[in-house]
C-alpha cells in the first residue's frame, strides 16, 4: 500500500494571498498579484511570499488580499493600493487601516478575517479549503489531509462499507432535490453492468448561484477525491465533470487538478497501487439550463440536444450510453472525503434530524454582505440575512427572500424564521435548489420577479413537452401583460390554473418547478398582482408600463445630464439653471434619466 507523502503548509511564513476567484479576477486580481511580487522583490522583502487562493466567497469585497499568519483581511484592493500595502504593512509593519474591511452596519473597521461577521457566523465544512489553499497546487490539498479518505477507502473499506458510512452521515444530494446520497449510490452499485459511469454535475445554471463555481475554482481536489470515492463505491470506472463553459477559470483549474491527481496516482489506472481505476473527463456545457437535469445532462454528454427523458428508467439503471450512471452535485462530492475521514457520525452531528450537515447559499440581491455562505442545516433564514448578510442596505425594508432560483419560490419577510431544511422550504412552496438566495427589498416588484423567472424558464425550456413549452409561454404572456398594465383580473385565476397543471404534467424538473415563483408570489403577494391589474400601479416602480417619471423642479438645477442621456429627446431644457422639462407623451420610461441623475431630481411613481 502506497503512502501519500504529506507536506505541511508552510506555516509561519508570511504570505500575501490574493483571492483568485472569478469575482476578484474580474477586478484585476492577476495584475495585483504581479504588482505585489514586483514590489516585494524591489524592496527585497525576501521572507514574504506571494501566493493565491480560490474564492473566499466574499466576492463583493474583492479584490481581496489576505495576509497570513496574522490573518489580516484587505478589501477592495486596487492596483494603486499595492505599493502602499507593501510599504506600510510589510516594510513598516503597520497594517493599512484604510483598506481593511468595514462592517456595513457598525461602520467599524475589522482588521482580522476571523472577526468579520460575514465569516464568523458561518460554519465552513464543504468550503473548508476555499480561500485557504492554492487550488493549483496539489500539495496544499494533501497538506490538509487531502486524499487520505481515498486511501482509507481503497485499502480498508468495501464499497458496502463506504455506502454505509455515507448512509450514517445522512448526506442528501446538494443539487437541490435532497435525495439521500447513499441510496442513490446503492442503486447504482446494485445495477448489474459491465460498465458504470459517474458524473459530477457542475452545471450550475441557476441564475444567482455560484457555489459550484467557487468550489471548482477554490478546491477542485476535494471534488475529485469525492468522485474517486463515489466511483469506488458504485463501481464506476469512468467519470465526467460536466461544467459550464461560462466558468472558464473553474474549467481550467479543474483540468489542471485532474492532471495533477493523475500524476500523483490519485486518478487513472490502479489508483495508489490498488486494482481500482478511474478516468475522469471534463465536458463543458454549452449553455442550456435544462442540462442541470440528470437525463438532459446525459443527453448532452452523449452529443445530443439536452432534452430530458422520462424516468424511470433512472440514470442509476440506464444512464450514460445506457449504462448505470451515478450523478452527484459538486458539493455532495466535496463533502464525501470528510465523511470518510471523520466518520458519518461526526458529520451527522451538524444540522438537524432529517437534514444533516451544512448548506451553502449564494447570498445576493439587496443585502449588505453578498457572497457565499455555509451554515449548518436548520439555521434560520433571519440569521443568514441579518447576522451574516448584515441586513438590507440603505435602510430599506426586507420584502422577500427568493431561494432555489427559477425553480424556487419567494418567501415573504414574515417567514424569515423558517429553518434551512428541505422539507420546510418545500412546505412553504419553495425549494433549497442549488442554493441561490436572493434578498429583495421594497424596491423589488414581486410581479416583475415572477415575470423575470418565467421569462428565464420559458427561454430555457427545451420544448419537448407541451406543458412546459406552451405553458410557460402562456404564463409569460399573461405576466407581461400585467406588468405593462394590460392585465385583467381573470388573469390571476388563469395563471394559478396554468401553474398548477404545468407543475403536475411537465416531463422534467424544469417544468415541474417552473411555476414555483408564480405560485409563491401569487400566494404571498397577491395584493401586488391585484394592484397592477386594478389600480395600474407598481408600488416598487419597476414595471415600466406602470411607471411615470417626473421632474422634481425644486431639486433640478438644469444641469442637462439627463437631456443628453434621454434616447428619445423627451427631456428638454427650459433655460439655464432652470429645471428641465419631461414630455410624458415622448417618454418611453426607460429610466435613463433617473439613473443618471445624481441629485434625486427625478421622481418615479
Amino acid at each position: 500500500m502506497a503512502k501519500i507523502k504529506t507536506s505541511k503548509l508552510s506555516a509561519g511564513q508570511r504570505t500575501v494571498f490574493l483571492c483568485h476567484g472569478t469575482g476578484c479576477v474580474s477586478n484585476e486580481a492577476f495584475a495585483i498579484r504581479k504588482a505585489f511580487e514586483k514590489s516585494i522583490e524591489r524592496l527585497q522583502l525576501t521572507d514574504i511570499k506571494v501566493d493565491f487562493t480560490g474564492c473566499h466567497g466574499f466576492c463583493e469585497q474583492g479584490p481581496i488580499v489576505f495576509v497570513q499568519p496574522e490573518g489580516i483581511f484587505y478589501a477592495h484592493v486596487s492596483l494603486d493600493d499595492v505599493e502602499e500595502i507593501v510599504y506600510s504593512h510589510f516594510r513598516d509593519n503597520k497594517p493599512l487601516e484604510r483598506l481593511m474591511y468595514k462592517d456595513p452596519s457598525s461602520s467599524e473597521i475589522v482588521p482580522y478575517f476571523k472577526d468579520i461577521n460575514f465569516y464568523k457566523k458561518q460554519r465552513h465544512i464543504v468550503l473548508r479549503n476555499c480561500g485557504r489553499i492554492n487550488p493549483e497546487r496539489i500539495e496544499d490539498y494533501i497538506a490538509t489531509d487531502g486524499y487520505q479518505a481515498l486511501q482509507k477507502v481503497l485499502f480498508s473499506m468495501t464499497p458496502h462499507q463506504v455506502i454505509d458510512e455515507v448512509k450514517i452521515s445522512g448526506l442528501r444530494g446538494r443539487g437541490g432535490a435532497g435525495f439521500p446520497t447513499a441510496t442513490k449510490w446503492q442503486f447504482c452499485h446494485d445495477a448489474p453492468s459491465d460498465k458504470k459511469y459517474l458524473i459530477c454535475n457542475a452545471d450550475e445554471g441557476d441564475p444567482g448561484a455560484f457555489m459550484d463555481r467557487s468550489m471548482m475554482e477554490g478546491d477542485p481536489h476535494s471534488v475529485i477525491e469525492g468522485m474517486a470515492i463515489a466511483a469506488y463505491a458504485t463501481g464506476a470506472t469512468e467519470g465526467y465533470i460536466y461544467i459550464r463553459a461560462e466558468y472558464p477559470l473553474a474549467v481550467n483549474r479543474t483540468k489542471f487538478a485532474i492532471k495533477e491527481a493523475e500524476e500523483r496516482g490519485f486518478l487513472g489506472k490502479n489508483i495508489l497501487g490498488s486494482d481500482f481505476s478511474l478516468k475522469i473527463h471534463i465536458k463543458e456545457g454549452a449553455g442550456a439550463f435544462v442540462c442541470g437535469e440528470e437525463t438532459a445532462l446525459i443527453a448532452s454528454i452523449e452529443g445530443r440536444r439536452g432534452m430530458p427523458s422520462s424516468r424511470p428508467p433512472f440514470p442509476t439503471q440506464s444512464g450514460l450510453w445506457g449504462k448505470p450512471t451515478n450523478i452527484n452535485n459538486v458539493k455532495t462530492l466535496a463533502t464525501v472525503p470528510l465523511i470518510i475521514l471523520h466518520g458519518g457520525k461526526s458529520y451527522s452531528q451538524t444540522g438537524t434530524e432529517k437534514n444533516r450537515g451544512t448548506s451553502i447559499f449564494a447570498l445576493t440581491g439587496k443585502i449588505n454582505c453578498m457572497g457565499l455562505v455555509e451554515v449548518p442545516m436548520g439555521t434560520k433564514l433571519a440569521d443568514i440575512i441579518f447576522d451574516i448578510g448584515g441586513g438590507i442596505p440603505n435602510g430599506k425594508k426586507l420584502k422577500a427572500v427568493q431561494t432555489g432560483g427559477p425553480s424556487g419560490g419567494c418567501l415573504p419577510a414574515n417567514m424569515i424564521n423558517l429553518p434551512v431544511e428541505y422539507e420546510a422550504f418545500a412546505n412553504a412552496g419553495s425549494i433549497m435548489g442549488s442554493g441561490g438566495m436572493v434578498v429583495m427589498d421594497e424596491d423589488t416588484c414581486m410581479v416583475d420577479v415572477a415575470r423575470f423567472f418565467i421569462s428565464f424558464t420559458q427561454s430555457e425550456s427545451c420544448g419537448k413537452c407541451v406543458p412546459c413549452r406552451l405553458g410557460t409561454k402562456q404564463m409569460l404572456n399573461i405576466l407581461e401583460n400585467i406588468c405593462q398594465g394590460r392585465g385583467n383580473i381573470t388573469d390571476i385565476d388563469l395563471l394559478q390554473n396554468l401553474a398548477q397543471s404545468i407543475k403536475v404534467s411537465s416531463l422534467c424538473g424544469l417544468g415541474q418547478t417552473a411555476p414555483n415563483p408564480v405560485l409563491t408570489t401569487l400566494s404571498y403577494f397577491r395584493d401586488e398582482y391585484e394592484e397592477h391589474i386594478n389600480d395600474r400601479r407598481c408600488r416598487a416602480a419597476v414595471c415600466t408600463g406602470l411607471v411615470t417619471y417626473s421632474i422634481i423642479a425644486e431639486k433640478c438645477p438644469g444641469c442637462g445630464l439627463c437631456i443628453r442621456e434621454c434616447p428619445v429627446q423627451a427631456v428638454t431644457s427650459s433655460g439655464k439653471k432652470k429645471p428641465v422639462i419631461l414630455d410624458q407623451s415622448k417618454c418611453t420610461k426607460c429610466g435613463a434619466c433617473f439613473n443618471i441623475c445624481r441629485l434625486g431630481a427625478i421622481a418615479v411613481k
Binding site: P312, G463, C465, V466, Q474
Partner: protein
C-alpha cells in the same frame, strides 16, 4: 413465456414483460389519448396526454413510458387525469389554427379526436400562435409549420425508421421547429421524400399534396424494386387516390420509399397508357381491335418453327403472367428461347 398481471380501470389484464402501460391498455381495448406515441417509434413522453394514475406512484406517469410491473393498478379515467389532459389540449389549441372545417386533415386529425374525447368545445386560453412559414418545395407533400404540434413523430421517424435524419428539431423551447440543415426548404435538404413522416403526422403539418380521401382500400404489392413492399391502394371513383404502406407484410412492415408512396397513381393512370391494340400499317402503328390483333399474332407466330422464335418475358409481370408465357413458349411455340431481364 411468463406474463405479468395488471389492473387497468378495475380490469385484470395479462401482458408480456416489457410491455408499456399504453400498449397494455391498447391491447385490452382501453383508449388512452396520445399525440406523440406511435407503435413503430420508441416512447417519447412529450405530449403528456397519456398520463394516468398508478397506485403507489407519486406523480401521474405517462402510460407510453411506464413499463408494466406485476400487480400494477392503473386508472386511466380519473377526473384528475382528465383535468390535466384538458389543460394540455387547451395549450395546444391556443397555439394551433382553428380552421378545422377547411383543414385538409378534417375528420382525420388526431388532435381533433383527442379534443373531442376530452370534451373540449372551446378555446380556453389566449391565442399564442403567430404566422409561420409553409414549406411547399417538395412535389409530393407540404410542410405547414402553423399546424405543427411538435410531437416529433416526424423527426423520430426520420431517425429511428429511415435513419436519414433529414429533419430534426432546431432551436429550442417555444421557438422549436422541425427543419433541416440550415433551416432550408426540404427540397434543398437530404430528404429522400419517402413520406414516412407524412404517414405519421397526426395533424395537418405534413400532408400529401392533392390528398383525397379514398372510399375503399385494396392491399397489393409494389411494382418497383425487389423489396416487395406491400401497400394499400386507396380507391375513389375507380381511381387510385392514395397509397399507404401495409403493416401486414414482413417484407416492409408498413414502410415505403418515395417511388412506392408517390410514384404509383401517376404512371398507372397516365394519359399515354396503351388502351387499344396497335397494328403497323404502312409503317405507322394504328389502333385495331383485339380480335384482329390476336388473330394476326396467332397466325404469324404459327408460321415459324420453334427455333425461329424468341420470347422475352418480364420481371415486371406477375408470376402467373410469367408461368403462362413460358408455358406458351415451351408448349405452344415449341422453343426454350425464353428469357427476361433477370440479369439487369
Amino acid at each position: 413465456m411468463n406474463y405479468l398481471r395488471l389492473n387497468i380501470n378495475s380490469r385484470e389484464i395479462k401482458v408480456k414483460p416489457g410491455t408499456t402501460v399504453l400498449q397494455a391498455a391498447q391491447a385490452s381495448g382501453t383508449y388512452i389519448p396520445t399525440l406523440c406515441a406511435d407503435p413503430d417509434l420508441k416512447p417519447h413522453g412529450g405530449c403528456r396526454l397519456c398520463i394516468v394514475e398508478v397506485k403507489g406512484m407519486r406523480n401521474m406517469p405517462t402510460a407510453c413510458t411506464t413499463i408494466v410491473s406485476e400487480d400494477m393498478v392503473v386508472n386511466t379515467e380519473t377526473e384528475a387525469v382528465h383535468k390535466e389532459r384538458r389543460s394540455v389540449i387547451d395549450l395546444i389549441i391556443a397555439d394551433h389554427p382553428m380552421d378545422c372545417l377547411t383543414c385538409i386533415k378534417n375528420q382525420r386529425c388526431e388532435l381533433q379526436d383527442v379534443a373531442a374525447y376530452l370534451g373540449i368545445t372551446e378555446r380556453n386560453l389566449p391565442r399564442t400562435i403567430k404566422q409561420k412559414p409553409i414549406d411547399d418545395s417538395n412535389p409530393f407533400f407540404t410542410f405547414n409549420h402553423n399546424y405543427c404540434i411538435l410531437c416529433q413523430r416526424c423527426t423520430r421517424t426520420c431517425d429511428e425508421i429511415t435513419g436519414v435524419n433529414a429533419i430534426e428539431i432546431i432551436n429550442r423551447g417555444y421557438n422549436s421547429k422541425v427543419s433541416t440543415f440550415g433551416d432550408k426548404p426540404l427540397m434543398e435538404s437530404i430528404c429522400k421524400s419517402c413520406g414516412e413522416c407524412v404517414a405519421r403526422c397526426p395533424v395537418a403539418a405534413l400532408v400529401a399534396k392533392n390528398s383525397i380521401m379514398p372510399t375503399s382500400k385494396i392491399e397489393t404489392t409494389c411494382p418497383y424494386c425487389g423489396v416487395g413492399c406491400m401497400m394499400e391502394l386507396g380507391i375513389r371513383n375507380g381511381k387510385i387516390v392514395s397509397v399507404e404502406g401495409s403493416r401486414s407484410s414482413q417484407a416492409n412492415n408498413g414502410r415505403l420509399c418515395v417511388k412506392g408512396r408517390y410514384g404509383i397513381a401517376d404512371f398507372v393512370q397516365h394519359p399515354e397508357r396503351l388502351v387499344q391494340p396497335l397494328l403497323r400499317k404502312s409503317n405507322t402503328l394504328i389502333e385495331t381491335s383485339w380480335e384482329e390483333a390476336l388473330n394476326i399474332v396467332a397466325q404469324k407466330l404459327s408460321a415459324y418453327s420453334g427455333d425461329q422464335i424468341a420470347v422475352i418475358a418480364s420481371a415486371k409481370c406477375t408470376n402467373e403472367d410469367n408461368y403462362i408465357v413460358q408455358k406458351f413458349a415451351r408448349s405452344v411455340l415449341g422453343t426454350n428461347n425464353i428469357d427476361h431481364c433477370a440479369r439487369l
